[in-house]
């Protein structure tokens, strides 16, 4: 590209400055940054609610908040973390990395990309404003089960509308990613040459398109039940409350894979880089991801073993659930085999990726335990479930986002982050996240129910330990913010390749990359 053309591009693209640059941007890197910043903000909003929960549970008895508010905390903590922190975090990573990884100049639909992002702040303003409404914020749990959710006060339609907007945003984001990967790949970049992160994101995008409309449908039916005289979920009018749970979890289980498949992609990018070996079993990784996605649609009722189903149903959902361990095991095996006899080094991204492999597997195993029907009757609705999904989502999904940020931050900013502080962040997080969540297994097995502000004195010790872990884990994340801000501001210059073992198109671009990633498509051999 000629110099004058480049100068023109700069002039045209960066025309609006300040706030308007971010409001009107159609650039995949700007939008990626917006998503990631929003995700970080929501991580702290949801984290603050978690601190309230752990403060109340520090001792038995009621100390800080009334039970209604406590229930709002657990409900909104979950909605904020799932739809505000984890999902936008992965969409931000996709926005930044997918065009660079496939050799495209930008996302396929840049203006839709802008709209997908800017819906999010409005959805969360709606959702969080409910704290100031008569009846308080929604408190019936993030699953919004009928008929309990019908007790929500004025917040009810705001909750439904917020979920609708979040769904529209996710569906548009997913369509954009599919259009980008299907239509914008560089010449020679065939599907089986795509980096695993791109593969896992395509499959995630299809999961989103298939499952988010189901959630939208479920909450629409709640809305019409409440305001327009239908009785989809009201037994009094001939409807069925359990049907709500079926519909919700038909969305809900694919949703957990929406939050973990991109994490698999991140780990599949990091492990080969720091083991300095190509990924072991690339094609089996692709097929395993697709298998997990398929199975995710036929396991939903494992969340409902105790509602009363025919024995055949209980058995079917138990078998399909434990079957997911097979493709997941393939992935864990492949990551370990990639490291086998590699020249490994342990920079911060690799530490988080290794932490992911070990601790996500712990969450996977407790998931298997919960998937066994007769055992689930014991564990159901206890803190064992809370321990399980926090291992999967915090030391799983969130750890992979942390790993990805450390891995790609030098590429995004052109500066290296402080490696010593990064390692410190990893070790503080890893110690305290286990202090926080591991004792919750014991509490659950001893019979402590979830979603309660008060508990029997026999649970006091481990709750106190868990709360201390929670406060320290929360504090450790301030270090992360400090490291990121310092890296954005300056630091040692990063090379194009950044990491010695890094391979792929994104590492052929300078750090930071130009505003349009590839204006002339690279040719992939």
């Amino acid at each position: 590209m000629s110099h004058s053309h480049a100068a023109h591009d700069e002039h045209h693209d960066r025309a609006p400055s300040g706030l308007m640059r971010w409001v009107t941007t159609t650039n995949h890197k700007d939008i990626g940054t917006l998503y990631l910043s929003f995700s970080l903000l929501m991580f702290f909003v949801g984290g603050t609610m978690a601190m309230v929960i752990r403060a109340e549970l520090f001792q038995p008895g009621l100390q800080f908040v009334d039970p209604q508010f406590f229930n709002s905390m657990t409900t909104i903590h979950a909605l904020v973390m799932i739809f505000g922190a984890v999902m936008p975090g992965f969409v931000g990573l996709a926005n930044w990395m997918v065009p660079m990884m496939i050799g495209a100049p930008d996302m396929a639909l840049p203006r839709m990309n802008n709209w997908s992002f800017w819906l999010l702040p409005f959805a969360f303003i709606l959702l969080l404003s409910t704290f100031f409404m008569p009846g308080g914020a929604p408190a019936g749990g993030w699953t919004m089960y009928a008929p309990l959710v019908m007790q929500t006060g004025d917040a009810f339609p705001f909750l439904i509308f917020a979920v609708h907007i979040l769904g529209i945003s996710s569906i548009m984001g997913a369509i954009n990613i599919i259009a980008t990967v299907f239509n914008m790949r560089a010449p020679g970049m065939t599907f089986m040459k795509l980096p695993l992160f791109v593969w896992t994101w395509i499959i995630t995008a299809f999961l989103l398109i298939a499952s988010m409309p189901v959630l939208a449908g479920a909450v629409t039916m709640l809305l019409t039940d409440r305001f327009f005289g239908t009785s989809f979920f009201s037994a009094a009018g001939g409807g069925d409350p359990v049907m709500y749970q079926h519909i919700f979890w038909f969305f809900g289980h694919p949703e957990v894979y929406i939050m973990i498949l991109p994490a698999f992609g991140v780990v599949s990018a990091i492990v080969p880089t720091f083991a300095r070996k190509p990924l072991f079993g690339y094609s089996s990784m692709v097929y395993a991801t697709a298998s997990i996605a398929f199975l995710s649609f036929i396991v939903w009722a494992h969340h409902m073993f105790t509602v009363g189903m025919p024995l055949a149903g209980e058995l079917f959902f138990m078998y399909t659930t434990v079957l997911i361990a097979v493709p997941t095991g393939v992935k864990i095996f492949n990551w370990v085999a990639t490291m086998w006899k590699g020249s490994m080094t342990f920079e911060t991204p690799m530490l988080f990726a290794l932490g992911f492999i070990v601790m996500f597997t712990i969450g996977g195993f407790s998931g298997l335990m919960l998937g066994v029907t007769p055992a689930d009757f014991q564990y159901h609705d206890t803190y064992f479930v809370v321990a399980h999904f926090h291992y999967v989502l915090v030391t799983g999904a969130v750890y992979s986002i942390m790993a990805a940020v450390y891995f790609w931050l030098p590429k995004w900013t052109g500066h290296m982050y402080d490696e010593k502080l990064g390692k410190l962040h990893f070790w503080l997080s890893t110690i305290f996240v286990n202090v926080l969540f591991f004792p919750q297994h014991f509490l659950g097995l001893a019979g402590m129910p979830r979603r309660i502000p008060d508990y029997n004195v026999q649970f006091a010790d481990w709750n106190m330990v868990s709360s201390i872990g929670g406060f320290m884990f929360g504090l450790s994340q301030l270090l992360f913010v400090y490291i990121v801000i310092r890296c954005v501001r300056g630091g040692q210059k990063a090379t194009a390749q950044v990491w010695e073992g890094a391979h792929g198109l994104e590492w052929t671009l300078p750090s930071p990359p130009p505003y349009h990633s590839f204006t002339t498509p690279p040719v992939v051999k």
């Binding site: 369509i175 398109i209 409309p213």
Partner: protein, 47 residues
């Protein structure tokens, strides 16, 4: 030289743009069908 061509059009060829439109249309209709389908299939007996 100031230009009114949107950024998206500078980097996406007309051909790719048509394919992108078709992709959005197909996937968007699938999402809409799933949404309406799930509501419709639970309508019976709800008078």
């Amino acid at each position: 030289m100031p230009t009114t061509i949107p950024e998206s059009r500078q980097t996406v060829t007309a051909d790719a743009s048509r394919r992108n439109f078709r992709t959005v249309l197909v996937l968007g209709l699938i999402a809409l069908a799933v949404y309406l389908g799930f509501i419709a299939m639970h309508f019976h007996g709800n008078g």
